[in-house]
Symmetry: C2
Subunit: 294 residues, 2 copies
C-alpha cells in the first residue's frame, strides 16, 4: 500500500579529511535520527570526505568506490537494522577512469532501492566537478521505498527547473537535494546573502511549481577558503518552509510530511493541469536564435 | 545598436467598472512615469476594466477589441509622443467567438513591436479564464524595442518555469509579467501569506534560473470578494528584489536595469552552460507513468 505520510530526518554536519571519522559520525547521527522517529534519513552531498572538488588532484579519485560497495554495505545494514530509508551521496567508481557523483537510496529492508547519477555537473573556481564526475546517464529517478517515492537530485541540479519537473512528473512524494554549497572567504556579506537567497528561492520554487515537498541537506564547516552555509530545510508542497537548520551547527532536522497535501495543493493551484506541453519541445534547444517575430 | 540599460516603470493601480475612467487614469500615469524617466512602461493585466473573469457572463465579451484596435491606437500615440515603450495587457477579439488574453508591446516610435497571447489559461473559482480566453498560439516571444528586448508573459504563465525558460532562451533582456492576482475575502492571513510567498518565490526563481531581471505588475483594489494584492516588483538577474510596491497603494515604481548584469551572473552561475538538453525531451509529456527503475 502506498504510504501517505512519513517523517524525514535531515543530517547536517561538518566533515574532516579522515573518511573513517566521517563515517563513524554519520552512523551515530543516523542512529540518533532513527531513534527520534526519522523514517527517511537524508545525508548531505559527499558526506564521507571534505568537499574534495576544490582542486583538481588525481589522488582524490582514490576516494571513490563501486556501487554497490563498502558504503552501500554499511548503509544497508543500518537501514535494515533500524528499518529506515537512507538517501546517501557517494563518489562512484563505475569503471577505470569513469566516475560519477551518485546518490543511492537504501530501503527499510536494507535493499538498494535505486540510484541516481548527478545529471548537471558544475565547474567553477573551487567547484571543479567536471574534472571528477562524468555527467549522469540514468536520467531522472523516482525511487519507491517503504516510506514513500523519492525523487533524488544532487546539488547543481537544484538550479534546474527542468530536473525538478522531470522528476516530479514521475510521481514522487518529495524532491530531495543532498548538496554542498558555501561562501568563499573573500566575499562580502551582501554577496553571500544574495547567493544564499537565490539558492533558497529556486529550491522552494520547485515545490511551488510541482506541488511536492522539497528537502535540501547542506554541509556546514569551513574547508580551506570555503564556508559551507548549512541552512538545510524542508518545505511543504507549496514552497512554505516547515523547518530549517542553522548556518553552522550540526543538526538533525525532523519533519513529518503528509503526502496527501500534494493533491490538495495541485487541485487548488492546478499548474500540472494547464502545462502547454504542445509548446515545450524547444526546451531541448541550447538557445533559440531565431529572431523572427509574429 | 543594442541598448545596454533602461529604466522600467511599473504602474500599479485600481480599476473601476468604467473603462473610460481606467483609460484616463492609466494615460495620466503613463505620462507621469515617462516624465519621471520611465522608458519601458509596464501595465498590469487587463487594466482597462475590473477583473471580469470572476464570473462567466456572456455580456463581458463586449469588453474585447481587435488588435490593432482602439487601445493600440491611443497607446501608440502616447508611446510615439513620449518616446517610450509600453507593455499593455488587452482583451483581444480575434474573430467572432475567438478571444485571447493578449499583451502588446508598443515601440518608442509608436509602432506595434509585437504581441503575445497568454499561453497558460487558469480556471479556478473567481478566475474563470478558460471561459473567455482561447490559449495562445503564438508561442513565446522576444520583442525587440528601442530600449531592450522584452519577453512578455501574462499572469498564470508566471507559475511555469517552462514559459520563463523558453522566453529567456530567445535572448530577452527581461521577463515581464502583467498580472491580476488577489486574495479571496474568506481566506485566513496565514493562507494569504503562503499564497503571496509562493507567487513571489516562483517569479524570482525565473530570474535566478535564467539570469534575467523579472518585472511583475499586479493590480490593487477590492473587487467583489477579491482583494488584489499589489506588491508589484522588479528583481535583478539573480532574483534579488530591487524595488517593490505596497499591497494597496497606487504606485509608479521606477527601476533602472543594467542588461550587462545578465552576462555577469550567467558566467558566475553558468546554468545555461550546463543544461542537459539531451535529457529534457520528456518535458513535453503530461506525466511520466513508467514506473520502471534502473
Amino acid at each position: 500500500m502506498k504510504p501517505t505520510r512519513a517523517t524525514v530526518a535531515l543530517i547536517q554536519m561538518s566533515c574532516t579529511e579522515n573518511p573513517k571519522e566521517n563515517i563513524e559520525k554519520v552512523c551515530a547521527l543516523i542512529r540518533e535520527a532513527a531513534q527520534k522517529g526519522g523514517q527517511i534519513i537524508v545525508l548531505q552531498e559527499l558526506y564521507q570526505s571534505l568537499y574534495f572538488c576544490d582542486v583538481e588532484d588525481y589522488k582524490r579519485f582514490s576516494l571513490a568506490e563501486p556501487i554497490p560497495g563498502p558504503s552501500t554495505e554499511y548503509l544497508s545494514e543500518l537501514a535494515a537494522e533500524l528499518e529506515i530509508v537512507i538517501v546517501a551521496s557517494l563518489f562512484e567508481k563505475r569503471a577505470e577512469g569513469l566516475y560519477h557523483n551518485t546518490a543511492v537510496v537504501l530501503d527499510a529492508d536494507g535493499k538498494l532501492a535505486g540510484k541516481y547519477r548527478k545529471m548537471h555537473i558544475p565547474d567553477d573556481p573551487g567547484y571543479f566537478e567536471k574534472f571528477y564526475f562524468t555527467p549522469g546517464d540514468l536520467g531522472y529517478q523516482a525511487i519507491s521505498t517503504r516510506y514513500g517515492k523519492i525523487g533524488v537530485l544532487v546539488c547543481w541540479d537544484q538550479w534546474y527547473p527542468e530536473a525538478a519537473r522531470l522528476t516530479a512528473l514521475k510521481g514522487v512524494d518529495m524532491l530531495v537535494y543532498p548538496t554542498a554549497i558555501g561562501w568563499h572567504n573573500s566575499q562580502s556579506e551582501e554577496v553571500n546573502d544574495e547567493q544564499y537567497q537565490a539558492w533558497y528561492t529556486i529550491q522552494r520554487s520547485h515545490a511551488v511549481a510541482n506541488g511536492v515537498p522539497v528537502i535540501s541537506v547542506n554541509r556546514i564547516g569551513e574547508e580551506g577558503e570555503m564556508k559551507f552555509w548549512g541552512q538545510s530545510f524542508v518545505t511543504n508542497a507549496f514552497g512554505k518552509t516547515l523547518n530549517k537548520a542553522s548556518v553552522d551547527q550540526q543538526e538533525i532536522l525532523l519533519q513529518e510530511l503528509d503526502y496527501s497535501e500534494s493533491d490538495s495543493f495541485r487541485t487548488h493551484w492546478p499548474f500540472l493541469r494547464d502545462r502547454r506541453i504542445d509548446s515545450y519541445a524547444p526546451l531541448t534547444k541550447r538557445f533559440i536564435d531565431d529572431d523572427t517575430q509574429t
